[in-house]
Amino acid sequence: MNRHVARDETAIEERRLKLAREGDLGAFNDLVAEYQSLVYNLCLRQLGHRQAAEDAAQEAFVSAWRNLSSLRGAFRPWLLRIAANACTDELRRRGRRPSSSLDVALEAGVPEPPDEDPTPETTTLQGELRREVEAALQTLPEEQRLAVVLSDLQGLDYAEVAAVMKTSLGTVKSRIARGRARLREVLRTSWELSGAHTRQEM
């Protein structure tokens, strides 16, 4: 993602924020357009379910609009935190762990998103391996999953993850390490069951 936002983009964002705080919905919706992919993907990885992710993402933006006056500091970590909280609410509302919910969604006939044909310059996981990793991610405890998603999928450094999760660097380090270690165990089991083909697929 855009980890190094150009200075003029920052200025544009500041201006939009200022207008939005004054009640300008159009300026806020410009921010929504800028961040909706980031927020939706966070929700998708946290919830493992497209419809749930859509609901949580919308809820996050509504909540951000209503609580704009409580924003201190940078917008992005603040927004991601709101999105993470919306996911927690969504999980609670559904009253179950999200484990294998993506599988359920896929079995129910939800079409794969239109990113099936990989763009030449980017290598993304596809097919069986991708589903394995997605399913493994859903077996993590919520906080470990959030730390791993923010770090590995969204490219935040530890300090940024700590800002989103409102915790210490040490806790972030520990959550990411435990999350990855657990994924390693889950995936290793899965590989051993299905043979070594997955490594070749990489």
């Binding site: 939005a20 705080r21 004054e22 009640g23 919905l25 806020f28 919706n29 929504v32 357009a33 909706q36 992919s37 927020v39 939706y40 993907n41 998708l44 990885r45 497209r50 859509e54 993402a57 919308q58 933006f61 509504v62 609009w65 209503r66 704009l68 006056s69 409580s70 201190r72 998103p113 239109p114 990113d115 290598t123 993304t124 996981l125 596809q126 391996l129 991708r130 990793v133 997605e134 991610l137 791993v148 770090s151 590995d152 999928l153 450094d157 530890y158 380090k173 520990s174 990411i176 390490a177 435990r178 990855r180 270690a181 994924l183 390693r184 995936l187 290793r188 990489m202």
Partner: protein, 254 residues
């Protein structure tokens, strides 16, 4: 450093942070050196790295639709005004605490002030009988001899803190001068002369105690409470002022 002992393996946390470049240089070098010579840790690092690469390779999906807010969604509540009005109720907390502190200090000073003046200007003539009484009591406190302390004027226990006495009136204004830190110090130094506090204001109602030690004890107790009140008010002021005026504290508290 324990990393020099080859039997200490790298933790998942070290390996994970090593991959992210989030270890401090000294730690990073030590972990890397260990991994170089340890097959088991090298394998663990390799697996951790593969997990990380796979996660990073998960595709980002495009947003399935626009999440722009419609006026109906936004209209439930317009964006509230900036933080200033929200803060205003809290501003009264430090003001109240400061007022309480000044009030307690004024009470303390007005009751003990005569003593102080007598100690400082012992040659000046006492204006009233009450002040004269206190002057003798003040010297009694300095001597701290029991028979003379029995002459101390005391208030019955549980007597509410009296308002500033008229005789002590002229002494009150200087009390507002010093900075809070200074007033706390002077408050405690007055506490040491506590045996004669608050006598002048209530001279008419005061009773002679037959038990000198008990009388002195009661006076110390009342002074202590006043002092404790001042300290509590001062602490409340500092905390509430910090909470209101230092943005970071309140933000973290939410």
């Amino acid at each position: 450093m324990f990393w020099n002992r080859r039997n200490e393996h790298a933790t998942d946390e070290d390996l994970s942070a090593l991959l992210d470049g989030e270890l401090k240089p000294a730690r990073r070098d030590a972990v890397a050196a260990h991994v170089d010579g340890c097959e088991r840790c090298a394998e663990a690092l390799e697996q951790m790295s593969q997990v990380r690469i796979m996660l990073q390779s998960l595709p980002q999906e495009p947003a399935p639709r626009s999440f722009a807010l419609t006026p109906a969604m936004a209209g439930a509540r317009p964006a509230p005004a900036p933080a200033a009005p929200k803060r205003s109720p809290l501003v009264f907390a430090p003001v109240a605490a400061l007022t309480l502190f000044v009030a307690l200090f004024a009470v303390d000073l007005s009751s003990s002030g005569t003593t102080s003046r007598d100690e400082m200007f012992s040659t000046s003539a006492g204006g009233t009988a009450g002040e004269a009484q206190v002057a003798s009591a003040g010297s009694a406190a300095e001597d701290s001899s029991a028979p003379e302390r029995a002459n101390s004027l005391t208030l019955p226990e549980g007597t509410p803190i009296p308002p500033p006495a008229t005789g002590a009136g002229p002494l009150v204004p200087p009390a507002t001068g010093p900075a809070p830190e200074a007033t706390i110090l002077s408050g405690s130094s007055m506490g040491e002369a506590g045996a004669v506090k608050r006598d002048d204001g209530e001279a008419g109602d005061a009773t002679f105690s037959s038990d000198g030690d008990a009388a002195a004890g009661g006076e110390d107790g009342a002074t202590d409470w006043l002092l404790i009140g001042q300290v509590v008010a001062a602490v409340a002021f500092v905390i509430s002022a910090a909470y209101v005026f230092v943005p970071g504290i309140r933000k973290r508290g939410i």
